[in-house]
Amino acid sequence: MVCALEGSMWVGNLEKAARKAAAWLVNKTPIRSLRDWGIAFSLWPVHFTTACCGAEFGASAAPKFDTERFGFLPFIASRQCNVLFIEGTLSKKMAEAAIWVYEQMPDPKFVVAMGACGIDGGIFWNSYNIVRPKDILPVHVYIPGCPPRPEAVAQAIIMLQRKIRKGELVTYEV
């Protein structure tokens, strides 16, 4: 494709070149840090309760702990969210639903596994009906505890924000 613009002439695919330039710009330091800052403070977890840790997750969104001050507000629809909290044990039946929800979420998306069950089965390690989240999803942050205290949930959010702002998790490709 040939483009002519006020006398000068460029040869090549303008659309492709523009996308390449945008990707280069977005991955360049000042804009990149602005972008990561924006993502870090707009974490929207999907309202997906998998097991009993949901009780403490609910408490962390409530007064006293108030995770909303980190820009972290549980939201209803998976298509508008970017964080998936695996709240405790993942049973086989629920694991299927967790994968559906994860696939519906738009990029960039993050997964946090909450509770001892989310790490390696916890007290239910030898149950016949559980799945370890790390086997089916890319988990970014683990929260230990059975159940973890709401402070630990807040700590996990801060850890996720730090990871995002270091630029480890989000990359744009052409």
Binding site: H47, S91, K93, F124, S127, N129, R149
Partner: protein, 389 residues
């Protein structure tokens, strides 16, 4: 158009705005629910099977996990069944301490249910207030037991810790705060025209149906059946305490919420009586106190924290069967233990209130409007991990 063509099947969940780990399969005709079937089993973690390979003391934390918001009821029912097999009776002070924790837990479990119900019918204020007012009670329980929700406080033969110093004053402060706070709830939530319109006359459960379906807990009492295990088969310190069984006549979603609110006030009454009448004495049965080595026993007497001897961990229970019933926040919890004299039970069966109430989803939503589904769902105080075990 025939009826089959008019009906539409809607799958709600397992990821849905209401808090809960279940799928509701609804058949709707316009705005009317023709049939709603709950699809449960999303949190089945085989607690009963795991109990067969764990030791008796290890099962205490295991049975608490299914109902995280109301752990004391499960803990107490399980320990009572084990105590029946062992043939021991905990000392009176331990009985009172059990009652104290059970009532604190009942209040914050009711707040949990009311908060979740609030968020389901779109009242964020109710959620924030209930979860905020739950915290002082959790703080109390935490000071008594050392954990926020999973207390594991009740052990065979007694309890793990004595009352901390100055605990009575703190409890009294919280109780006074709650009493002053409850009128605010009526002003802003219960007497709110929106709440009334969404809950009154919705999901009516008649007295006959409630008895026929085997419903339990506040959902049964909201239909006018004065059944409470604390009165029907008194345990712990309840025979010595004075309290009423709360009932409502209407049987609708609003009555179910009102029963919980009035039970909170009744629990405040019980807690005050417990702290007034609590007797002095040991908190663990003599038989187990003797097992504690002498140097540790001195420490136990000074701090009031029980240190378990190794023998206690390998607790052997004589062969036999025992059933124990407890009134939890959501209803009647039943534990049936069959022992063959080994270190693990041969079979442990737990009957949880949520599982007995799950039948109401199908029963109450027939003919209701689609918007009433969350209002009915929330009013049942259904906790899926508890039902699925």
């Amino acid at each position: 158009m025939s009826l089959e063509e008019r009906e539409l099947e809607v799958l709600i969940g397992p990821q849905h705005p209401a808090s809960g780990h279940m799928r509701l399969v609804a058949k709707i005709d316009g705005d009317i629910v023709v049939e709603l079937r709950p699809n449960i089993g999303y949190v089945h973690r085989s607690v009963e099977k795991l109990a067969e390979v764990k030791k008796y003391l290890q099962i205490i934390p295991l049975v608490e996990r299914p109902s995280l918001a109301d752990t004391t009821a499960n803990n107490l029912a399980y320990v009572m069944a084990v105590e029946k097999l062992l043939g021991i009776e905990p000392p009176p002070r331990a009985q009172y301490l059990r009652t104290l924790l059970a009532e604190i837990n009942r209040i914050h479990s009711h707040f949990y249910g009311m908060g979740i119900h609030g968020v389901m019918i779109g009242s964020s204020t109710a959620y924030m207030w209930c979860f905020g007012d739950r915290e002082p009670l959790i703080e109390l329980a935490q000071e008594l037991t050392g954990a926020r929700l999973t207390y594991s406080y009740i052990v065979p033969g007694g309890v793990r810790r004595d009352l901390p110093q100055g605990f009575e004053d703190k409890v009294e402060r919280v109780m006074r705060y709650l009493e002053n706070r409850m009128p605010d709830y009526f002003d802003i939530y219960f007497n709110n025209p929106v709440t009334r319109a969404r809950l009154e006359g919705v999901g009516v459960l008649t007295k006959e149906d409630a008895i026929k379906l085997g419903v339990t807990g506040p959902n049964l009492r909201a239909s006018g059946v004065p059944y409470d295990v604390r009165k029907a088969e008194p345990y712990a310190a309840y025979p010595e305490l004075d309290f009423d069984v709360i009932t409502e006549e209407a049987g609708d979603a609003f009555a179910r919420v009102m029963v919980r609110v009035r039970e909170i006030q009744e629990s405040i009454k019980i807690i005050r009586q417990v702290l007034k009448n609590i007797p002095d004495g040991p908190i663990l049965d003599e038989k187990y106190m003797k097992m504690i080595p002498p140097n540790l026993r001195k420490q136990v007497e000074e701090t009031g924290h029980i240190k378990f001897p190794g023998v206690f961990a390998n607790l052997r229970v004589p062969a036999g069967e025992a059933v124990a019933r407890v009134e939890g926040g959501r209803g009647e919890v039943v534990f049936h233990i069959i022992s063959d004299g080994k270190m693990s039970p041969y079979r442990m069966r737990m009957v949880t209130p949520s599982f007995r109430n799950v039948i109401l989803f199908e029963h109450l939503t027939k003919g209701a409007r689609v918007a009433d589904i969350p209002a009915i769902y929330g009013s049942l105080d259904y906790f899926p991990p508890e039902a699925d075990r």
